[in-house]
């Protein structure tokens, strides 16, 4: 496995002098597979994230797209140190989170939050909405008693819910409303950075738009920075400033939004984009689809060289031997491919 040191982080840093809010270098997350009844020994690893480099600037939204099992959610969680990364550094405002101890990390969590995918599992069913949203305030000792209640009601109003709902339980709300509660919880500590992990994929079409709009409003209101993880390329295009495409634990392409959607360099990005159905029969009947063959290989035993070569129509001998370097091909446009374009 190679971790490219000259990834977008190094080059991005030289391009602009303002430091990035978040810099991820060589992030690797392997989950061990163990065997044995009493003495467990490691027999392999799920290589969920396998050397990922990127940065996020203050106030921007970076979209992270890929199919299930590509490691996009794991990347988000490893950044927030919900998993202890196997390797790599996560610089948040200059501090390497992977090197922080428990208490120091807990303090840092005030500045970074997460919005989860499942509006049913992400709220404690035995806590009232008031307690759920108020908990981060308590944890970080920001408000108590009446001040806390006032803040919770304000947050409910901000996310478009009735402020008098504080005494209700999550199960009394619809999926979209629950997602708003989760968003209110993440806003409570006034974070700078939010990882949105598929925040709308569990919602109905008409509700999705409500939540996307809310996230956009909140971003401009509170100057938030998002890492937006999703599998829906249309939604990612809509909300992101820059987009990173992941395949089997690696970022294969990263570029500004319109650049990526108009001029994808990596064959996987091209296939992914062409696979998305467009709600317009006039366009749809004329489109040329790239249909990939086969399934995504297992992250336990990823293909040699370029992970994508087993499904790639451009693959040549070199692709199965050498892992392509993740390098810049156009301004702010990185791709990891031997034959890009």
């Amino acid at each position: 496995m190679t971790v490219t040191a000259r990834g977008p982080v190094a080059q991005g840093s030289t391009a602009s002098h303002a430091p990035h809010l978040l810099e991820v270098t060589g992030l690797t997350m392997h989950f061990p597979i163990t065997q044995g009844l009493v003495f467990q020994r490691q027999v392999g690893a799920v290589r969920a994230v396998d050397g990922v480099d990127f940065f996020v600037d203050k106030g921007e939204t970076v979209g992270l797209v890929g199919e299930s099992g590509c490691g996009k959610s794991t990347t988000g969680r490893a950044i927030l140190q919900l998993y202890k990364p196997t390797k790599g550094a996560v610089l948040f405002d200059g501090t390497d989170l992977t090197k922080l101890g428990g208490e120091a990390m807990r303090k840092q969590r005030r500045r970074m939050q997460m919005i989860f995918q499942d509006p049913y599992a992400s709220l404690n069913p035995r806590m009232t909405v008031g307690n759920i949203i108020g908990e981060p305030l308590e944890v970080h000792e920001l408000a108590k008693g009446q001040a806390k209640l006032n803040r919770v009601q304000e947050l409910l109003r901000v996310v478009g819910l009735n402020p008098y709902f504080t005494n209700r339980y999550p199960h009394e709300f619809s999926g979209g409303q629950r997602q708003r509660i989760g968003i209110a919880r993440s806003l409570a500590v006034e974070p700078d950075f939010i990882v949105c992990d598929e925040p709308i994929s569990a919602l109905d079409v008409s509700i999705q738009a409500q939540v996307i709009n809310l996230l956009e409003e909140l971003q401009s209101k509170f100057n938030l920075t998002y890492l937006f993880i999703a599998h829906d390329l249309s939604v990612v295009r809509h909300i992101s400033d820059r987009v990173a495409v992941m395949y089997l634990g690696k970022i294969v392409e990263l570029a500004d939004r319109d650049e990526l959607y108009k001029r994808p360099l990596h064959p996987y990005s091209q296939a992914l984009l062409s696979a998305v159905p467009i709600p317009d029969p006039a366009v749809e009947t004329k489109r040329q689809r790239i249909i990939l063959t086969g399934d995504v290989p297992s992250p336990v035993n990823p293909p040699s060289g370029c992970h994508f070569h087993t499904r790639c129509w451009k693959a040549q001998a070199v692709c199965s031997e050498v892992d392509p370097e993740f390098k810049v091909h156009a301004p702010r446009h990185w791709a990891a491919c031997h034959f890009p374009g």
Binding site: R109, M114, F116, L123, V139
Partner: protein
């Protein structure tokens, strides 16, 4: 939070429980049973251990007029001891047997289950191996082994053998509770609200107390509701086998054991404790089912 309109899970559960007729009937019986047990010295007309052989084997008040006495409404046993008094005092033993070991089981089981489920690793390994060993034998057999082994020692003498029963039931049953809690914690640990709490900066202790524990408490309470009568039944079984409570201390099991040989000619001293056991068991079952439903806020 304001006090007005404040709702809590437990208050909601209580109102749902109150609406459940079978559960409320169960609760009434359990309360009555507890009252009788606590007030036994006041309620019981006679000393349960002292008998007068001249009055032996009297019928209860609905029995043969020639063999009954207004002084002993439920009759007497073969040693002339008042059956009513013995039933009342037995409730006391049953209450102790029901709640003391279960409290021990809950304390140890929940603590171990939480740690094993949440932190995993060696704590989990150790627990699961203990579970394997203890589950390899039928529970009652295991209790019998412990009781017979320790009966002759000083522990066996404490409180006419009650303490030994506490210890043996707790030793065998805490693993079941720990396993239940561990399973719940494992399922919960995969849910996003636990991740959400960690991402928010909550400490492990806070996550365990505020997020994990309340969510495992419902099945624990239900397990207790079924565990209490289970312990009582174990005691009765042991006493019936003659290795439980040492006579003359009365317990329903002891009463059945003693009356058993004469059950053909004089069935009442056996039947009445049996009925008591059944009624209390049934009451706990209804209550347990009611609690299971009431504690689910999604119901």
């Amino acid at each position: 939070m304001t006090g007005v309109g404040q709702r809590s899970l437990w208050r909601d559960a209580a109102s749902r429980l109150a609406a459940n007729r079978a559960a409320m009937a169960g609760l009434v019986v359990v309360a009555l049973f507890a009252f009788v047990a606590i007030a036994a010295p006041i309620l019981a007309p006679y000393d349960p251990a002292a008998g007068d052989t001249r009055n032996h084997e009297l019928d209860p008040f609905w029995g043969d007029p020639a063999y009954r006495s207004a002084a002993f409404p439920l009759g007497t046993d073969q040693l002339g001891r008042d059956v009513l008094s013995r039933l009342i005092w037995s409730a006391r033993v049953s209450l102790l047997i029901g709640f003391v070991p279960v409290s021990i089981i809950v304390t140890i089981g929940v603590a171990v289950g939480l740690v094993a489920g949440y932190y995993g690793r060696w704590a989990d390994l150790l627990l699961m191996r203990a579970v394997d060993v203890i589950y390899a034998f039928p529970e009652l057999l295991f209790v019998i082994v412990i009781v017979t082994a320790a009966r002759g020692t000083w522990i066996g003498e404490l409180g006419s053998g009650i303490v030994l029963i506490f210890v043996s039931i707790a030793t065998v049953s805490w693993v079941g509770m720990a396993r239940l809690v561990r399973g719940q914690v494992l399922a919960l640990r995969g849910l996003e609200f636990i991740d959400a709490a960690r991402a928010m900066g909550a400490s492990d202790r806070r996550i365990l107390v505020r997020h994990v524990l309340p969510n495992v408490l419902a099945p624990v309470i239900v397990a207790v509701a079924f565990g209490v009568p289970g312990a009582m039944l174990t005691e009765s079984a042991l006493s019936f086998l003659g290795i439980g409570i040492k006579p003359p201390t009365p317990s329903w099991g002891v009463m059945i054991n003693e009356g058993f040989t004469l059950a053909i000619q004089s069935p009442w001293p056996v039947l009445m404790p049996a009925v008591c056991i059944s009624v209390v068991m049934l009451a706990f079952t209804f209550l347990g089912d009611g609690l299971r439903e009431a504690l689910d806020p999604r119901a």
